[in-house]
């Protein structure tokens, strides 16, 4: 049931089968149908989620009702709202499923418990957090300073297969540009790279 989660952890750390068994006692998984909501804005949750199968997104809705995609979470990614999960404050993001998905529900004590049973996990966890911060810094910088094309090129480098799994308007929302701008960017790229017969 937790096979994908186990494979993920074992590629990142040297957690043994036995350690995995212990740290995941009582851990539950959840199946979410496409378009259903996993976490609502305003919820206070003690869970964050590891994606074993499918694709989810975290997003906010502004006062005009416009959606802003903060993150895509395909297989082997984590998704949640840290306001809620780490600080017990109401969630500011909504998490829903773009595809039929299956997630592992990870509670607040999981990381602590795992560190105790498998100390090698702590180092991985620090690196993972630093990577996340690095990723977020890069994303903020791109949103503040990069052209639409640079943002798109960065996106396809990071998530090469998501352009086939996510509607264009959602990618545009993630990039902070309009769907029309994204179309223009793709058209321009095709002009440069397409060799017609």
């Amino acid at each position: 049931m937790l096979q994908a989660f186990k494979e993920y952890l074992q590629t990142k750390t040297s957690i043994s089968d036995e350690q995995f068994q212990r740290i995941t006692e009582g851990v539950v998984t959840r199946k979410i149908k496409k378009d259903s909501v996993l976490l609502k804005k305003g919820d206070v949750t003690s869970y964050t989620f590891f994606v074993m199968k499918g694709l989810l997104r975290a997003y906010s809705i502004d006062e005009q009702g416009k959606e802003h995609v903060i993150q895509f979470a395909p297989e082997n990614n984590w998704v949640g709202d840290r306001n809620s999960f780490c600080f017990n404050e109401p969630a500011i993001f909504i998490v829903d499923a773009i595809e039929d998905s299956e997630v592992v529900c990870i509670d607040q004590h999981f990381f602590e418990r795992t560190g105790q049973h498998a100390p090698q996990f702590n180092r991985f966890n620090v690196i993972a957090l630093n990577n996340l911060i690095r990723f977020m810094q890069r994303r903020v910088n791109l949103l503040l300073s990069a052209t639409a094309e640079q943002r798109y090129l960065d996106f396809i480098e990071l998530y090469p297969s998501l352009t086939l799994r996510v509607p264009q308007w959602m990618i545009a929302s993630y990039l902070g540009i309009t769907p029309e701008s994204l179309s223009r960017v793709r058209k321009e790229l095709a002009k440069r790279n397409f060799k017609s017969i």
Partner: protein
């Protein structure tokens, strides 16, 4: 001659929608976990069993998507599909027509119900086959072969028993007009009730049939009702079908391509690196641009 025996008669698996215009039963590779090579050179068979679409002003269909490394063969039985691609090709596939699209190095295309058909609504029935290409041809230039119902070469079954429309390959001396990169036989057998027909195909060719209409008995024993797929063993070179009703049967048979397969979504390559290249090329506009 040795009888090619039936391995299984498979009812249509649960359907899924491709876009909002195609309600398909996937017989392989996923539907029955046959494996990616069991029907090689055919990689995928999506069967849109007969369905009655309500009239609609905005045509249903599937939006812009890429293909690389193989060919799509669309065989229309009822309804009509319009298509456009990033090379500027467009056309309509009507009942009885076949469109053989060699995606090869890569195209973007979209497929929608043809406007007039969409407005009127009515019966819709199609097959889409994905035919793999050998490594040496995967990056060849994309092209189309449109084979309309009127132009299709056919063999008349003696005794007013019906006809065999030969799309590709050869049947009893009648050659199909489609060019194929590897040896393939593809026929629509339109056979009248009570008629028997013997079909000879090489033992090593992977062979199957979709009963599009009616019902048949295979080798005088296995019953294959409408919408079922007949999977043959590779143990002989001849089989017989007998129509228990007026029937239409799609026969597909081809020499297996013995090469590794790396497949993801609409890309069908030999290696993981080639798949990554396909994603990168698609994302960077190498396949061109097509408005949704």
């Amino acid at each position: 001659m040795k009888t090619k025996t039936v391995q299984q008669v498979l009812p249509p698996p649960a359907p899924h929608m491709v876009g909002d215009g195609f309600r398909v039963h996937n017989f392989f590779p996923g539907g029955y976990n046959m494996g990616q090579k069991r029907m090689s050179p055919f990689f995928l068979l999506d069967y849109n069993a007969k369905i009655d679409f309500s009239p609609r002003e905005t045509p249903r269909g599937v939006g812009v998507h890429p293909h690389r490394g193989f060919e799509t063969v669309t065989i229309a039985y009822q309804g009509a599909v319009a298509h456009h691609d990033s090379y500027g090709h467009s056309g309509v596939i009507r009942a009885g027509d076949v469109q053989w699209m060699t995606a090869a190095s890569g195209v973007l295309h979209k497929e929608y119900h043809e406007a007039e058909y969409s407005k009127q609504g009515g019966l819709f029935q199609m097959v889409q086959l994905w035919v793999n290409l050998p490594a040496k041809d995967k990056m060849s230039t994309p092209k189309y072969q449109s084979i309309t119902a009127g132009e299709m070469n056919h063999y008349d079954i003696p005794g007013n028993g019906g006809r065999v429309d030969v799309i590709a390959g050869e049947f009893n001396g009648v050659k199909g007009s489609a060019f194929t990169f590897t040896p393939i036989h593809l026929y629509n057998v339109r056979i009248n009730k009570g008629t028997s027909l013997t079909i000879n195909l090489p033992e090593n060719y992977n062979t199957g049939m979709v009963v599009i209409e009616g019902g048949i008995k295979v080798n005088e024993s296995a019953d294959a009702p409408q919408d079922n797929f007949v999977l043959f063993k590779n143990d002989g070179d001849t089989f017989t079908i007998t129509a228990t009703e007026d029937s239409v049967v799609l026969v597909l048979s081809g020499e297996p391509i013995d090469e590794p397969i790396a497949a993801y979504g609409p890309f069908l390559m030999n290696t993981h690196e080639e798949l990554e290249q396909a994603f990168s090329d698609f994302n960077r506009g190498v396949f061109g641009y097509l408005e949704d």
